[in-house]
Amino acid sequence: MPVIETKELTHIYLAGTPYEKKALNQVSLSINKGELFGIIGANGSGKSTLIQHFNGLLTPSCGTVRVYGKDTANRSCRNELWKKVGLMFQFPEQQLFASTVFDELAFGLKNMGLEGWEIENRVEEALLQVGLNPKEVIKVPPLGLSGGARRQVALACILAMRPTILVLDEPTAGVDPSASEHILKAIKKMQREQQATVVMVSHYVNDLIFLADKLAFLKEGRLLSYGDKKTVFRDMAQWDVNDLILPEHLKLMHRLAAYGLPVNTEILTLEEAAAEISRVMEEWARCER
């Protein structure tokens, strides 16, 4: 059963002004419970606009968005969505404000109406989840931490609220590899152990290749391909994807296909790419004989 469903979702910024911009154009997709759903797209492709519809921060100019079967156009339903849908924005460390890490995490929990030991328990658990030692960081001001650790704290802020849908906008952009690994691990763990649905936006395709169950490919506000990973990568070969960070072996396969070689571009791993290339070369040799 889909937990998030969009139908012909169109979003126009500054409608009716000279700066009018269509950020999303008739996007229809559905995301099932427990899935890790990856959204790929270059800057300005509408990824961030799309995910802000999932927790009701934005409402469609046209079309509908349903979360848990309820239309987000309904104000009262939209205002309760933040408890179920945890959204982490791009560069979330820039939104930290409290004087200690504990207060930072407690902000969301207090807004949920929790108190006392429940808050302490959740704070500790969330910090462990993202790979930070609660004893070390809990009394430190968040702005005194390193960039990577701040990102981990920001993720912990969302995880502590125990959302059933986790939406992440470029969670690993601009952090060091070790923090990035902790973040991805925490996300995967959350999906496995709590059967959470995860929507993750990235233009680092490498992050999503193995993590995601399904993918969507956005370009200039249009949903060009969506569904099974291999199908999406195959479809991507038809479009100009120079603005995305694709793994080298996928780039090679796309180039070979563009040259007119009969390679199958429905592949994910380096090994599959190697096997496909040798298969095509063997076939060639056989034909020449």
Partner: protein, 262 residues
């Protein structure tokens, strides 16, 4: 950004857009001085307002859009009007207990309302039709005689330029932070004062931190391009050019001024 900010620059090539920024600055100043001149009659204010509306029409920025910008100021308009009406003494028109409405009060209320309207419209018309670069170039040129009094004209123009330039950026940033904190359950419209205070802190602190960071970055960027404040002369991309149309515009402004004075 979700909505246009009132007074945000709108690109265009109307007659008003093409005028020299100095003409527009002087025109704006004239209209404002006429409007705030003490003991101004309502007729002159209405005449002034009509002039501005005609200019808005020629600027092709949409009279409706400009007027829509007024919505955010309705409370100020209403409050000043009410204060003037109830707090002015004179010939009573109507009274109820200690509350007295006087003819002078109503006169003054309408008068103040029109003045505020003119101030708002003329200033937003200026920024809607003139890019920040041109405004600062115009200011610098108009204020240049003050150089002889050792007034740092160029730095002043640069400060104005930077301030205007960053209004949309900071607004956008604030919107972004509001949305981020809303997804953590921040209630910006809560009834409780303590909750509201906590929520506002969640907006102000990151916004302040980001602004300071941005200011530092900008300072470094300017310094690395050899910007100094010791009175060097910098060349400009936009050369100001006082054309015939500016002369005509100045003529129109002078007539408006004369009519207002007479």
């Amino acid at each position: 950004m979700r909505e246009m900010i009132t007074g945000q620059y709108i690109m265009g090539d109307s007659i008003i857009h093409c005028l020299d920024p100095r003409t527009k600055l002087i025109g704006c100043l004239v209209v404002i001085v006429v409007a705030v001149w003490p003991r101004q009659t309502i007729t002159i204010l209405l005449f002034n307002l009509a002039f501005i509306i005609i200019v808005i029409y020629f600027a092709e920025v949409g009279v409706g859009r400009v007027l829509r910008g007024l919505r955010s100021l309705k409370l100020i308009f209403l409050l000043t009007f009410i204060c003037q009406v109830f707090l002015t003494r004179g010939d009573p028109l109507w009274s109820w207990g200690s509350i007295v409405i006087t003819r002078q009060g109503i006169d003054l209320g309408i008068n103040t309302f029109l003045r505020l309207l003119i101030l708002f419209l003329s200033a937003s018309l200026l920024t809607m039709t003139t890019s920040t670069l041109k405004i600062s170039a115009g200011l610098e040129s108009l204020l240049s005689p003050l150089k002889y009094l050792r007034f740092p004209v160029q730095q002043f123009a640069m400060i104005i330029n930077i301030a205007l330039r960053f209004i949309p950026t900071i607004t956008e940033e604030a919107e972004h932070i509001v949305r981020a904190q809303k997804s953590r359950g921040a209630q910006f419209d809560s009834g409780s004062l303590s909750i509201r205070l906590r929520t506002v802190m969640a907006l102000l602190i990151p916004l302040l931190a980001a602004s300071l960071q941005r200011a530092t970055d900008l300072a470094w960027a300017m310094e690395s391009r050899c910007y100094t404040s010791d009175g060097q002369i910098y060349s400009r991309v936009y050369k100001l050019h006082f054309a015939q149309r500016d002369l005509i515009a100045m003529g129109v402004i002078s007539i408006v001024l004369l009519l207002a004075i007479l």
